[in-house]
């Protein structure tokens, strides 16, 4: 707190004669050092967001145009949201987002918590197991998609293997089925991220005061009660963090869908992120693409901003 005030010179009226240009430079130096990064953030993040918002109100098609036409793009998205027969690609994207988002988040959290609790039972070989659950997080979504695409391919992957070992009736063609393709994205996504959620929960479990648990055991709580009544409630902040991280990854996820399904049979695996990309760069509907990007941003902001606000405020105390 201290030196800081000094250099800001915030409440220090100084005799001007005492300060030469060297001192003044030294005082301004921290700000000079920070300025480029901050300026770049302002321009290339916030300036560009404003730019995108602006474009969403124009009639841009193949090239950006800068004539405001109003809410047209949003109106089109709004109409498409309810166009179910045949489903518009925006409708598909929104519904898929709902399915993918809710399953991805809930399964990752459930699985991550389960594995973390299992791992926390004084397991021999934890040092070997833990990295195995977590390594998918180091892979690119493209690699994950490539691997699972092959794994789930009915003609060559799991289904064929099951047939080969004698389970003739085994049938698993979700990746080719437009009603189920989004669930394959969930599978691959969960495989990639659940280990990370496990690591978060494990860190949370290890952070719980051991004496609380001893006290609960002396009070006669069974292991199940201990987890249900004491430990899991204490992990609330981890649930929140995991939710935030997963929700934000779910909304952003683009690579995985592209690599795993290339958009899926007949665009059945569309997500807002792929929708934005195709409308902006290949369907020559730049304004609509921008509008969908704005909607994505607002959705993420609705989740992230309150979270960051409370985190930063808590720290300030």
């Amino acid at each position: 707190m201290s030196i800081t005030d000094k250099l800001s010179g915030r409440d220090a009226p100084r005799a001007p004669a005492a300060i030469g240009w060297r001192e003044r430079l030294q005082e301004a130096l921290p700000k000079i050092v920070l300025a480029p990064s901050f300026a770049v953030t302002l321009i290339f993040v916030y300036g560009f967001i404003v730019w995108t918002v602006y474009l969403s109100f124009t009639g841009s098609k193949m090239f950006p145009s800068y004539d405001i036409v109003g809410w047209q793009s949003y109106q089109r998205l709004w109409t498409w949201t309810f166009e179910t027969d045949p489903p518009s690609s925006w409708y598909t994207a929104v519904v898929n987002m709902g399915i993918f988002g809710s399953l991805y988040i809930s399964i990752c959290i459930a699985l991550g918590l389960l594995i973390a609790i299992l791992l926390d039972q004084k397991i021999r070989g934890e040092g070997i197991l833990r990295p195995i659950y977590l390594y998918p997080m180091a892979l690119s979504f493209i690699v994950t998609g490539t691997a699972w695409k092959w794994f789930l391919d009915p003609g060559i992957g799991l289904e064929q293997t099951m047939h080969a070992i004698g389970w003739e009736s085994f049938h698993f063609d979700w990746i080719k089925n437009k009603d189920f393709v989004i669930y394959t994205v969930v599978i691959a996504g969960v495989w990639q991220a659940s280990g990370f959620v496990m690591a978060m929960f494990l860190a949370g479990l290890r952070g719980i005061d051991g004496e609380i648990m001893k006290a609960a055991q002396i009070d006669g709580a069974s292991t199940a009660q201990l987890y249900r009544r004491i430990i899991i409630p204490l992990l609330r902040p981890v649930f929140l963090s995991a939710f935030i991280v997963l929700a934000h990854m779910a909304i952003k996820s683009y690579d995985l869908v592209v690599a795993l399904t290339s958009g899926g049979p007949g665009g059945a695996a569309e997500l807002p992120s792929t929708f934005m990309y195709s409308y902006t760069f290949s369907r020559n509907q730049m304004a609509v693409g921008s509008a969908s990007a704005v909607i994505m941003l607002m959705t993420i902001s609705a989740i992230i901003v309150p979270y960051l606000y409370s985190e930063l405020k808590e720290k300030a105390r």
Binding site: S2, I3, K6, G9, D11, A15, A18, Q26
Partner: protein, 372 residues
């Protein structure tokens, strides 16, 4: 002119005033201890002397030179921090020499300075170690060594002993005192520990809420506290502060205290510390301050004292502490702690005579808190 002067020093953070006009001076070679409870502004005051925090108003002078606007490195001061603040990536020798290096002192000279300091502090064998390999006491020495090499005009110590265990603290306290006597350095020292303040200082300033409560020698602060706060803060166990009332008894003015366990009120003569000029009127409420060591058993009452009063009182608790025995009784509506010989034959539940040495007692006005 004093060597170090603080004149009307103020420090504000926004609307909060941390220092409310501090006036203090220190002569060359003096040892000023700033003492007070946490949040009293003593560390902030030290930081402003160092130049690590700016002041909102007022002036700081070192050797007659106004240093308000000087960067910490230009004030010719050295500082020993509470956490020692040793650079973890450097060896002890590099730590000690860093300040000289930053000032462009050549390597051979630096080495000489480091050797000299290492000898003085007996840390020669540690010079190639990293701070993480040192014990608390060793780190403390290195931190002092870093300050000493620079041979600055003023040394600043910010609670340097508070991270040490009790025994080491006592040793290091002696060490600092010896160092001060040997080098004749000018030192400003911040602590919340009143024993450190008493043992080290040539001059103590007691602070509270950003204001100086009293400045004086350790003897003055201890025996003639300026107000209730200083009386209560300095000394352990704390001074007994008892409600009393001025009364007339057989033609002389006395202090009347309620007895703890029933019976007639205690009547004590007015302590000699109350000046002749201050008229006490009958019925006036007062607070009588008397230190535990001024309340003893009958045999160990101070023979040089001019005003010993014996009071029979009921013994509630006896706490043998080795060198002394603390005895708790009641008077003036409060617990009273008396300090008796360790072999005094006292048991809880007895009623025994307590010897009050009123030479050592002081009287405060309860309304203003000031000593009368």
């Amino acid at each position: 002119m004093a060597f170090l002067e603080m004149i009307g020093l103020k420090k504000r953070y926004g609307n909060v005033e941390i220092l409310k006009g501090i006036d203090l001076t220190l002569d060359k070679g003096g040892f000023l201890v700033l003492v007070g409870p946490s949040g009293c502004g003593k560390s902030t005051l030290l930081n402003t002397i160092a130049g690590l925090e700016t002041i909102t108003d007022g002036e700081i002078r070192i050797d007659g030179e106004r240093v308000n606007d000087l960067h910490p490195s230009k004030r010719d001061i050295a500082m020993v921090f509470q956490s020692y603040a040793l650079y973890p990536n450097m060896t002890v020798a590099q730590n000690i020499a860093f300040g000289l290096e930053m000032r462009g002192v050549a390597k051979p000279e630096r080495d000489k300075a480091v050797d000299g300091v290492a000898k003085m502090l007996q840390i020669g064998h540690l010079l190639d170690r990293k701070p993480s390999q040192l014990s608390g006491g060793q780190r403390q020495r290195v931190a002092m060594g870093r300050a000493l090499t620079r041979n600055p005009r003023v040394f600043l110590f910010d609670e340097p002993l508070s991270n040490l265990d009790a025994k080491l603290r006592v040793d290091m306290r002696t060490e600092i005192k010896r160092l001060h006597q040997a080098t004749g350095a000018t030192i400003v020292y911040v602590t919340h520990d009143q024993i450190e303040a008493m043992t080290l200082a040539t001059k103590i300033a007691v602070l509270k809420d950003g204001e100086v409560q009293q400045v004086g020698t350790p003897h003055e602060i201890y025996n003639r506290p300026a107000n209730l706060f200083v009386a209560d803060f300095m000394g352990s166990p704390a001074m007994n502060l008892l409600k009393a009332q001025v009364a007339a008894d057989a033609g002389r003015t006395v202090l009347r205290l309620a007895r703890g366990h029933g019976g007639a009120d205690i009547l004590l003569p007015v302590p000699p510390s109350v000046g002749a000029g201050s008229a006490l009127s009958a019925g006036q409420d007062l607070i009588l301050g008397i230190r535990p060591e001024a309340i003893t058993d009958k045999d160990s009452a101070d023979k040089h004292s001019t005003a010993i009063e014996f009071v029979d009182a009921y013994v509630e608790v006896v706490e043998p502490a080795g060198s002394d025995t603390f005895v708790v009784t009641q008077a003036g509506g409060k617990e009273v702690i008396a300090r008796m010989r360790s072999d005094a034959d006292v048991r809880a539940g007895q009623t025994i005579p307590f010897a009050f040495n009123l030479d050592k007692a002081v009287v405060f006005d309860p309304a203003t808190g000031r000593r009368i």
